[in-house]
């Protein structure tokens, strides 16, 4: 079906008249007879009241919230990569309480069933011995992790967290189309959908009596606390992520924050004494439970995938010893084997003595000769799916295939039958989605989430809805493509507002403990400080330079002006290290027409040292520790991201235009530094951020003074140079208030070099650094000063003892301030050494683990 050309807008009285469900499929909003289902009426009325402009406004608000919160989902193949924003439909999927209750029963039965299957497969394997599951299906699957067989998993439910993808067949019955049993993705997105929708449609949300989600996450926390083997009062739980490259890294950081768990990567962890430890600055902290978002086969290079750099060597042994609990248990990936669906009814009868309440789509495993015969005979009525679980695998529709491709598929099935399943083709149900200004029926899938509690499974009252981005239902594959949808389970009674934070008795003690700073996190925070400062300094320097350049007006530059501009341009090249630039080869030409080089520094993404690259590096470092940044801080990072994107997508062609783009950047960068100063707890992590910032500002200031003040120009020029330096260092007002006369350069140096009260002065940076480095964790170096402390002390003393009169002395044929030059060069070297010392002491990541050569001994002839 295509979109009708003249679809009536929401404004017209017939809001739903134009809404025609697709033939032969169940629609959530309209019955086959064309009636609107009663539980949708209230929502439709509300939409009518809002009108097109109201809806448009809400939609914009929702998009803004998603953007500001940095909600991303990095869909494979999407050119936007990491920063692809999550897309949310304004319309929730509505489900009545009574219907939900029935669905819940089916889901709970299924979770219990899968849990029993998991326990059996890694224990007695009775299901195989009884022939309820063909042995080949399990033993031949890479998801069945032999090293995990026989591990006694703690708790009655090793399947802690489970999710099912559901849709409805045309008769309106819910069917499961996929199971998620490794580390089910999406609960965090569901929560974020809810946060956004309840903010943009507050009254509608309130009056619809929607079931709340917070209880589900409380259950999750309670369960992990309960499962953790106890070592003292408060078990430490971490959330293990593959890292910022993962498509759902947003969710990992989001959930870690929401649940109060430390977000860790494999490299942050280490197994010692048969237990798992988090490597923090200078010490190890014991981990009791891991909520893993890393697929099980990657978790331990010693016993599982040898080539995994994401896991922790010895992890399987720590679990085997009972010192650690993983949720879900290692090996649970086997439950996602699509061929299991073909055998569930029999297994359910055997294990639970019940019929399967929530049926699957009829499924055939081609590894079974009889089933294979059926599949090959009815190929065109079926969907073929490979058993290999990979994000790139998509279902195949033989009926729609080219004859050669179809023949090749048949050949492939015959050659390796156990690698394929077939399922009956079903038309997924549709649900209304707001496309532009219209409601359109779109194929949809609901992902429901369950968590194991002490007595049984609890279902999240809601879930993650997804609608296809077109009418083509095949796009709703394993990845979370398409539009996200909040799912509202409509309660008959209003519910009490809940959140994770209040209610002391429910708060597990573990979560109030501040999460530890690992070396990796400290490293990233240090660089966030450096990049943020670097970017801010660069923008200031660029602005002053452009001002100076445009001052020349239509007249040729005065000599004074020209020499000042030249110093500024050279300072730019020095500070960004973008040689040759205005210094090396071809500099003369670029000095004559600096515009292209300036524009390139402002908008060229490929320019290392340029503004976009620096800001991108800031964004990446921030993304890697996004669980440490507040929502407000993150909003600023998102703003900066957007400004960078627009700068490089629409590069300014004129400097005046570039200036307009730089202004909001300064504002954002200043806001960022303000927030990190005022809103971040001054803990270990903050110390690293601040150290990075001071170090960078020191380096930039030294470099600026080197470029501007070491070469000597005439007195008239010097006024201009002083003004420029004061402008860049934001010290103009103080200077004017303080020094009405006197040697100008001397006064300037007093203010920007030696004044420990001026936050832009070099002395100030070292004074702050001195305090910061003495507060950093000391580790083994408890005696005497650390190398970093010694370096700072030396520089600070040098500045304090420096004689301004000596510094301003001019020497040589080509007049230069040699003493000043030497001092600035020394400071620059000392700052670089300080950065190295801090890196060596705190960020030295453990060496990569290696595998021992395995061939042991020559073989016998």
């Amino acid at each position: 079906m295509s979109v009708p050309d003249l679809a009536p807008t929401l404004e017209s009285s017939g809001l739903v008249d134009a809404y025609t469900p697709l033939a032969d499929c169940f629609d959530e909003m309209r019955t086959a007879e064309g009636e609107v289902r009663p539980h949708w009426q209230y929502l439709l009325d509300a939409l009518r009241t809002l009108g097109p402009t109201g809806i448009e406004a809400r939609w914009r608000e929702a998009s803004r919230l998603i953007r500001d919160n940095g909600v991303t989902y990095n869909l494979n193949g999407d050119p936007r990569g990491m920063s692809r924003p999550w897309e949310l439909d304004l319309l929730p999927l509505l489900i009545r309480s009574e219907e939900w209750a029935e669905l819940e029963r089916g889901l709970i039965q299924r979770a219990e069933l899968f849990n029993l299957i998991l326990a059996d497969l890694y224990g007695p394997r009775e299901l195989l011995r009884l022939g309820l599951i063909p042995a080949e299906l399990i033993d031949g699957d890479p998801g069945y992790l032999l090293p995990c067989h026989g591990i006694d998993v703690s708790g009655a439910r090793p399947l802690v967290h489970y999710a099912a993808d559901l849709t409805r067949t045309p008769d309106g019955r819910w069917r499961v189309i996929g199971d998620r049993a490794q580390s089910p993705l999406g609960a965090g997105y569901a929560l974020e959908n809810r946060v956004v929708l309840s903010r943009v449609l507050p009254s509608l949300f309130r009056d619809s009596h929607v079931h709340r989600l917070a209880g589900f996450f409380r259950s999750m926390r309670r369960t992990l606390t309960r499962l953790a083997p106890h070592h003292g009062e408060d078990p430490r739980v971490v959330l293990l992520t593959p890292g910022p490259q993962n498509e759902a890294y947003f969710e990992h950081a989001y959930l870690a924050n929401y649940l109060g768990y430390t977000l860790v990567q494999g490299a942050d962890l280490s197994v010692r004494d048969g237990a798992l430890w988090l490597r923090t600055l200078g010490r190890l902290e014991r981990i009791d439970a891991v909520l893993r978002r890393l697929d099980d086969s990657w978790c331990d290079p010693l016993e599982l995938r040898e080539d995994s750099l994401l896991g922790v060597p010895g992890l399987v042994q720590a679990v085997r010893t009972g010192n650690l609990v993983l949720a879900n248990a290692l090996g649970s990936g086997i439950l996602e084997h699509p061929a299991l669906m073909a055998f569930l009814p029999g297994i359910c009868q055997h294990l639970l003595g019940e019929t399967l309440a929530l049926p699957d789509i009829p499924t055939w495993w081609c590894g079974d000769p009889e089933a294979r015969g059926h599949v090959l005979e009815h190929l065109d009525r079926l969907t073929i799916r490979p058993c290999i679980r990979s994000l790139k695998q998509t279902p195949l529709f033989p009926a729609a295939m080219e004859p050669t491709a179809r023949a090749a598929l048949i050949e492939a099935i015959k050659r390796n039958p156990s690698a394929y399943i077939a399922q009956e083709r079903i038309q997924p149900s549709t649900t209304p989605a707001l496309i532009g200004q219209h409601l359109e029926p779109r194929p949809s899938v609901l992902r429901a989430f369950l968590i194991a509690e002490e007595e049984g499974y609890a279902v999240m009252p809601g879930g993650l809805g997804r609608v296809a981005s077109s009418h083509d239902a095949t796009l709703l594959s394993t990845q979370l493509g398409g539009l996200g949808k909040d799912v509202w389970v409509l309660a008959s009674e209003p519910e009490r507002q809940e959140s994770l934070l209040p209610s002391a008795e429910l708060l597990a003690p573990a979560v109030v403990k501040e999460s530890a700073v690992s070396s990796r996190v400290a490293d990233n925070l240090f660089w966030i400080g450096r990049y943020a400062e670097r970017a801010e300094g660069l923008v200031r320097l660029l602005r002053i330079t452009i001002f100076k350049f445009s001052e020349r007006g239509d007249f040729a530059l005065s000599k004074a002006n020209a020499s000042c501009l030249r110093s500024l341009l050279e300072a730019l090249t020095n500070q960004t290290q973008t040689f040759p630039g205005f210094i090396g080869e071809g500099a003369e030409e670029r000095l004559r027409d600096p515009v292209p080089e300036l524009l390139s520094l402002i908008s060229d993404r490929s320019r290392v040292g340029g503004l976009p690259r620096t800001l991108e590096a800031l964004g990446q470092a921030a993304y890697s520790v996004r669980d440490r940044l507040s929502a407000d801080t993150w909003r600023i990072i998102s703003d900066i991201d957007r400004l960078v994107a627009s700068l490089s997508e629409h590069p300014p062609s004129q400097l005046s235009q570039a200036l307009d783009e730089l202004d909001p950047l300064v504002t954002s960068l200043v806001a960022f530094s303000g927030l990190s100063q005022e809103n971040m707890t001054h803990n270990e992590g903050w110390h690293f951020l601040e150290t990075g910032r001071r170090l960078e500002r020191g380096t930039a200031t030294a470099s600026l003074l080197q470029s501007m003040l070491v070469p000597v120009s005439g007195e008239q020029d010097e006024n201009m140079v002083i003004e420029a330096v004061l402008g860049i260092t934001d010290s103009l007002i103080t200077y004017r208030r303080r020094y009405r006369g006197g040697t100008r350069i001397g006064a300037l140096l007093d203010l920007v070099l030696q004044d420990e009260g001026n936050p832009r002065a070099l002395a100030y940076q070292f004074a702050v650094l001195s305090k910061l480095v003495s507060d950093l964790p000391r580790g083994d170096l408890s005696m005497g000063r650390t190398p970093a402390e010694k370096l700072v002390l030396k520089s600070l003393t040098g500045i304090r003892l420096a004689e301004i009169n000596a510094l301003i002395q001019v020497e040589g044929q080509e007049p230069r301030r040699e003493v000043l030059a030497r001092m600035l060069a020394d400071l620059d070297t000392e700052l670089a050494a300080l950065s190295d010392a801090i890196t060596a002491q705190y960020f030295r990541h453990e060496e990569q683990p290696h595998s021992l050569l395995r061939r042991t001994g020559t073989m016998q002839p």
């Binding site: 004494d273 010693l302 042994q317 085997r320 010893t321 021992l852 395995r854 042991t856 016998q860």
Partner: protein, 301 residues
């Protein structure tokens, strides 16, 4: 026959290793015709953690970790084992190989269901078509399974060249098939790949072989080595071993350490270490006959 086996593995690192995790398949399992009378593993430096568990295939696996800085690692496994000869039925009286395959799918037979994993491809042994065609020559229709397998073993022995320089632990089956040369591990992998390609359950066996010095000479220390061969499930008899490297059905001189789908399941010693740089490896194995009664409990150092 009783043996004492000493298997020493020594790693020397160019740089200091700060932390090391290892797992070892070094303690002999019990089988129908082999009894392990005692086995100890000594690790130097002293491991902070050392534990034993049984793996999926029933092998004894030892995990240990060393948490102190070290420049060398030495693992010594010493085991006393009693091996009894294998009594083979008359080859022509064993069931046809096709019948043996059918038996794998008998309903309710736990032994058979558990054996089916050995009919599937495994990480190091894919179902190589060349290996399958090669095996098929020995497996004429209705040929008794023992007769056919003995024939296959003999052909590998005479048609493949033993050449330690030609392969590494990761040389794929297809390459060995193409070059017709390799070591015991490769020959076992080839036979297994071919057998599984036909649908027969075949597994990998790792262990030792006693070598005897030439008459009149004294046996050299450390001259023995680890060895590998394969095993086939023959209905009503059980798993029967075949050593294609020596064209022998192992009798008393083959000592089994562990069984699995392929070498990867039973690697004698594997590990992950932090630091270390490059390393040197030396392995010495001694298989000695025990004339007197063995001491069941050997003193740990």
């Amino acid at each position: 026959m009783k043996f004492r086996i000493q298997h020493v593995t020594r790693y020397e690192y160019a740089e200091t290793v700060s932390l090391c995790h290892s797992i070892a398949h070094l303690k002999p399992i019990q089988t129908r015709r082999q009894q392990c009378l005692g086995s100890v593993i000594r690790v130097d430096p002293w491991p902070a953690v050392s534990r034993e568990h049984e793996d999926f295939f029933g092998n004894r696996v030892n995990y240990f970790s060393i948490q102190q800085a070290h420049d060398a690692l030495e693992v010594t496994a010493q085991s006393d084992v009693e091996v009894t000869p294998c009594v083979l039925p008359e080859a022509s009286k064993t069931p046809a190989w096709e019948r043996a395959i059918e038996r794998l799918y008998d309903k309710g037979d736990g032994l058979m269901i558990d054996a089916r994993i050995f009919t599937l491809p495994s990480p190091l042994i894919p179902l190589d078509p060349d290996a399958r065609n090669y095996a098929a020559i020995s497996f004429e229709p209705d040929r008794p399974i023992l007769e056919a397998t003995l024939d296959l073993m003999g052909r590998i022995y005479s048609e493949f060249e033993y050449d330690p320089a030609s392969t590494t632990v990761t040389t794929p089956v297809a390459e060995v098939m193409a070059n017709r040369r390799g070591v015991c591990q490769d020959f076992a992998h080839i036979a297994i790949s071919g057998l599984r390609g036909l649908g027969i359950a075949a597994r990998y066996v790792s262990g030792y072989l006693e070598t005897l010095p030439p008459p009149g000479q004294v046996k050299l220390q450390g001259a023995d080595a680890s060895h590998a061969w394969f095993s086939v499930l023959i209905p009503d008899i059980g798993w029967v071993d075949f050593d294609p490297t020596n064209d022998q059905v192992p009798q008393e001189q083959h000592i089994t350490t562990a069984i699995g789908r392929d070498f990867q399941d039973v690697t004698p010693l594997r590990g992950i270490f932090y630091g270390g740089g490059t390393h040197d490896l030396r392995v010495a194995v001694d298989v000695d006959r025990l004339e007197s009664q063995p001491t069941p409990e050997m003193p740990a150092r």
